[in-house]
Amino acid sequence: MFAYILRRLLYAIPILIGVNLISFALFFVVNTPDDMARMQLGVKRVTPEAIEKWKAERGYDKPLFWNAGAAGVEKATETIFFDKSARMFIGEFGRAEDGRDIRREIRTRMGPSLAIALPTFILGLFAAISCALTLAFFRATRFDFWGVVLCVTMMSVSSLFYIIGGQYLVAKVWQWVPISGYSGGLDAWRFLILPVLIGVLAGLGSSTRWYRTLFLEEIAKDYVRTARAKGLSEALVMSRHVLRNALIPILTGVVVVIPSLFMGSLLIESFFGIPGLGSYTIDAILAQDFSVVRAMVFIGSVLYIIGLILTDISYTWVDPRIRFQ
C-alpha cells in the first residue's frame, strides 16, 4: 500500500512538469512578452521604453529558457522559465498585476470558497442520493418516468439561469436574504444559504439521474434477489442492501472532486460577491492577469492529481477485494 502510494506520488511529478510546460508554452511561447506588454498597456500610444519598463518590473526581460550571458548555474536560473514556472513547485507564485502576493491572497480566500463549496458538496450528495433512491424504489412506474423527465429538464437548464433566477426571486422579490456580499464569523450563514441552495439545485438533475442508473444496476444483481427471497420487505432491501452497495461507486466517484473544492465555484462566487478563489480567478481572467491565472492552473492540477490518488486509495478502503500490484 505504502509503496503504491509512493509510486503514484512519483508518477504525479512528470504530470505536473507537463502541466507546467503546457501553461508556460501557452503564456510565453505563443505570445512574446512584448505582445503581453502591449496588451496590458493598451495597444495604442505605447512606446518601446514603456514596454521595456513593464517587462523589467515583472522580470519578463530575461531569456525564455537559457541565459547564455550569465555565469554558472545562473545560465538556467536567470530565465523566465525558472522564475515563473519552476518556482511554482515550491509554492512561489509571484505577484499579481496589482502588486499583491498571490500566495497570501490564495490563503485568505480559501476560507470563503470552502464555506460555500463544502456545504454545497455534502448537501448536494445527500439530496441526489435520496432522490435517486426514491426514484429507484418506484422504478418502472409513472412517478419514476416523470422523475427522470424532470431530471433531464433540470440538467438542460444552464447554471446561469439557476443563479440569476434564484437570486432574483429569493433575494430581490421575496427579500429573504441579502442579494450579495460576505461577512466572516457566524453571521455568514445569511450570505451563504442562498448560494449553497442554488448550487445544490443546479447539480441535482444530472447526479440524480446518474445515481439512479447505479441503483438500478445494483438492484439487478443476484444478492438482491436472494434478500427478497428471504422475505425481506422492499424498503429493507433498498436501505440495507442496495443503498450500501451502490454507495461504493457513488462515493469513489466523487472523491476526485473533494480536493478541488478549495478552488471554489467560479459562477456562484462572482454572482454573490463572495471573496473566494473562484471570484479571484474570474477577476484575474477579466483583468487578463496572467500570473494569477497561471498560478490557479498549477494549483488546480495539483488538487486534481491529489483527487486521483485519493480515489485509488478509497477503492481499497471500501472494497478489500481490490489489491494493488
Binding site: I22, M39, V297
Partner: protein, 483 residues
C-alpha cells in the same frame, strides 16, 4: 450581382459537418448492425420528437451559415463596392426584424418605450407642452391607433386576431404534412402487400395509436407543437417586438434566431475537432500498447488535470492577444468574430477529447484480443489497415454516443464561458452574450425580464431536445444495455 458571397471559416466547418453527417448516413445504411441501431433510434418516441425540433434549429443554423456582403447603393464610378457588414441568408429573410431598431428597452408586444423621455404632449385644448412620458415606439405596434385620451385601442383584439389566423395557418400546414405522411406510408404498405387498394384507414389508425415502427406519431405531434409556437411568432413579429427589445433597441427575437447558429457550431464543430484526434490516438494506444500507450495516457492525464475552464481561459486570452496584434489578417469584424468562434471550438475540442480517447483506447484493448483481429494479423494484414478496416468501424457506436452526449454540454458551456468573458466575441450574438448583456436587467425597476426569458426558453428547447435525442441514441447504440 448585387451581393458578394463570403465564405467564413465556420461556414466551411458547417459544410464539412453536413458532408460528415451524410457520410455517416451512407456508412450506416450499408452496415446492418448500424442500420438496426438507427432503426431503434427511429422507433424511440421521445427521441424522434426531439429530432423534429432539432431539425428546425438545424434549418435556422444552415440558413444563417450562407453569408454574403450586400452591394452598396450609390457607388459613384460604377465600380462595385460592397458593404463591410457580412449578412447571412437568415438576415435577408428576417431583415424587418434586423432593421427595426428602437431606441432602447421595450417590453414584448409593447407600443410604448420602457423608459420616460421628454416629448411634446398635446393638451386637451390643443396646446403643445413639454412633458415626460413613455414615447411611442417607431416600429413596435406602430399600426395601432390611439384614442382621445392617449390610450391604445384594439391591441389585444389585434393580437388575438393574428394568433387565431396563425393557428389556422398552422392547422393547414399540419394537415397537409400529416396527409403527405399517411399517403406515403399507405402507398408503401400497398406495394409491400401487393394489394390493389391502398389501406388509408388502417395506416391512419396505426399512426394514431403509435403502432408504426418509425415514431411517426411523435414526429407529427412535435411538428404540430412547433407550428403552434412558431406560426404566431411569425405572424406577430412583423408588427410587434414579440420578445421585446434590448438595451440598444435590437429585437430580441432576432437575437435568439441568430444565437442558434452559434450554439450549433460550438456544439458540433468542437466534437468534429475532438473526434479524429481521439480516434487516432485511442487506436494507436490500444492497438500497439507499450510506450505509445504510456505516452498517450500521459498526454491525456496531463491535459485532464488542468481545470478545464482555466485551460480554456488561458488559451482564449492568448488567442485574443494574437488577434489583437494582427488586425491586418481580417477584412471585416465578422471575420474576426468568426475566427474567435472557431478558436473557441478548437480549444473546447482539445480540452474535451481526453474522455473520448480513454473510452476508445479501452475498447480497442478489448477488441484487439478477439479472433477476427488475430486472424487478420495471421494473414499479414498491415497494422494500419487492421486499425482502419477492422477496428475503427467497430468503435463507431462509442463515437456516435459521445457526439450526441457532448453536444448539450458544449452548448451549456458556451453560455457560461461567454458570461465569464472567455467565450465568443462580444459582438457575436449567442445565448452566452445575450445572458451576459442582460445580467443586470433583472435588478432594474421594473425588471427587464424578456431578454433573459427568451434566451432561457430557446436554450432549454435546444438543449432538452439534444439531451432526449442523445438518450435515444445511447439506448440504441450501447451494446451493454439489454434489449
Amino acid at each position: 450581382m448585387n451581393f458578394q458571397m463570403v465564405v467564413l471559416w465556420s461556414d466551411i466547418c458547417v459544410a464539412l459537418l453536413l458532408a460528415g453527417l451524410i457520410g455517416l448516413a451512407v456508412f450506416s445504411a450499408r452496415r446492418p448492425l448500424l442500420r438496426a441501431a438507427w432503426g431503434r433510434v427511429g422507433a424511440s418516441r421521445p427521441g424522434m420528437a426531439a429530432a423534429t425540433i432539432l431539425v428546425f434549429f438545424a434549418l435556422v443554423g444552415l440558413l444563417d451559415s450562407l453569408h454574403y456582403r450586400p452591394r452598396l447603393e450609390n457607388a459613384g464610378d460604377g465600380k462595385a463596392v460592397y458593404s463591410v457588414e457580412v449578412l447571412s441568408a437568415l438576415d435577408a429573410l428576417a431583415s424587418p426584424l434586423r432593421e427595426r431598431v428602437e431606441k432602447t428597452y421595450s417590453a414584448p408586444f409593447a407600443a410604448h418605450s420602457y423608459s420616460r423621455e421628454s416629448i411634446e404632449i398635446e393638451d386637451a385644448d390643443g396646446q403643445k407642452r413639454q412633458g415626460r412620458d413613455f414615447p411611442r415606439l417607431t416600429y413596435g405596434g406602430a399600426h395601432l391607433q390611439t384614442d382621445a385620451d392617449g390610450k391604445l385601442s384594439g391591441r389585444a383584439a389585434d393580437i388575438a386576431a393574428r394568433v387565431l389566423l396563425a393557428f389556422a395557418a398552422a392547422a393547414g400546414v399540419w394537415v397537409m404534412a400529416a396527409s403527405a405522411v399517411v399517403y406515403a406510408l399507405a402507398r408503401r404498405q400497398a406495394r409491400t402487400l401487393e394489394s390493389p387498394e391502398i389501406p388509408w384507414r388502417q395506416t391512419l389508425r396505426e399512426i394514431g395509436q403509435g403502432k408504426t415502427v418509425f415514431a411517426w406519431n411523435s414526429v407529427l405531434a412535435a411538428f404540430g407543437v412547433l407550428l403552434l409556437v412558431l406560426m404566431p411568432l411569425f405572424f406577430l413579429c412583423a408588427d410587434y417586438h414579440v420578445f421585446g427589445t434590448d438595451k440598444v433597441g435590437t429585437d430580441v427575437f432576432y437575437q435568439v434566431l441568430k444565437s442558434i447558429r452559434t450554439a450549433l457550431v460550438i456544439g458540433l464543430v468542437a466534437t468534429l475537432v475532438t473526434m479524429p484526434l481521439a480516434l487516432i490516438l485511442g487506436l494507436l494506444a490500444g492497438y500497439f500498447r507499450g510506450w505509445i500507450d504510456d505516452l498517450v495516457q500521459y498526454l491525456y492525464t496531463t491535459l485532464n488535470s488542468i481545470p478545464g475552464v482555466l485551460l480554456i481561459a488561458a488559451s482564449i486570452m492568448m488567442m485574443q492577444v494574437v488577434i489583437d496584434t494582427h488586425p491586418h489578417w481580417f477584412s471585416t469584424a465578422a471575420e474576426r468574430a468568426d475566427l474567435r468562434l472557431l478558436a473557441l471550438c478548437f480549444i473546447l475540442g482539445l480540452t474535451s477529447w481526453t474522455s473520448l480517447c480513454r473510452l476508445l483506447r479501452g475498447e480497442t484493448l478489448k477488441l484487439r484480443e478477439l479472433e477476427y483481429i488475430q486472424a487478420a494479423q495471421a494473414f499479414g494484414v498491415p497494422s494500419w489497415r487492421i486499425m482502419a478496416r477492422h477496428l475503427a468501424p467497430n468503435l463507431m457506436h462509442i463515437i456516435v454516443i459521445t457526439l450526441a452526449m457532448d453536444f448539450s454540454s458544449l452548448v451549456l458551456a458556451e453560455a457560461v464561458l461567454s458570461y465569464i468573458g472567455i467565450g465568443v466575441d462580444p459582438l457575436m450574438i449567442s445565448f452566452g452574450t445575450m445572458i451576459d448583456n442582460a445580467r443586470m436587467e433583472l435588478s432594474r425597476d421594473p425588471a427587464v425580464w424578456w431578454s433573459l426569458s427568451a434566451a432561457f426558453a430557446f436554450m432549454l428547447a435546444l438543449v432538452l431536445s439534444a439531451n432526449l435525442l442523445a438518450d435515444a441514441v445511447r439506448d440504441a447504440f450501447d451494446p451493454r444495455l439489454v434489449r
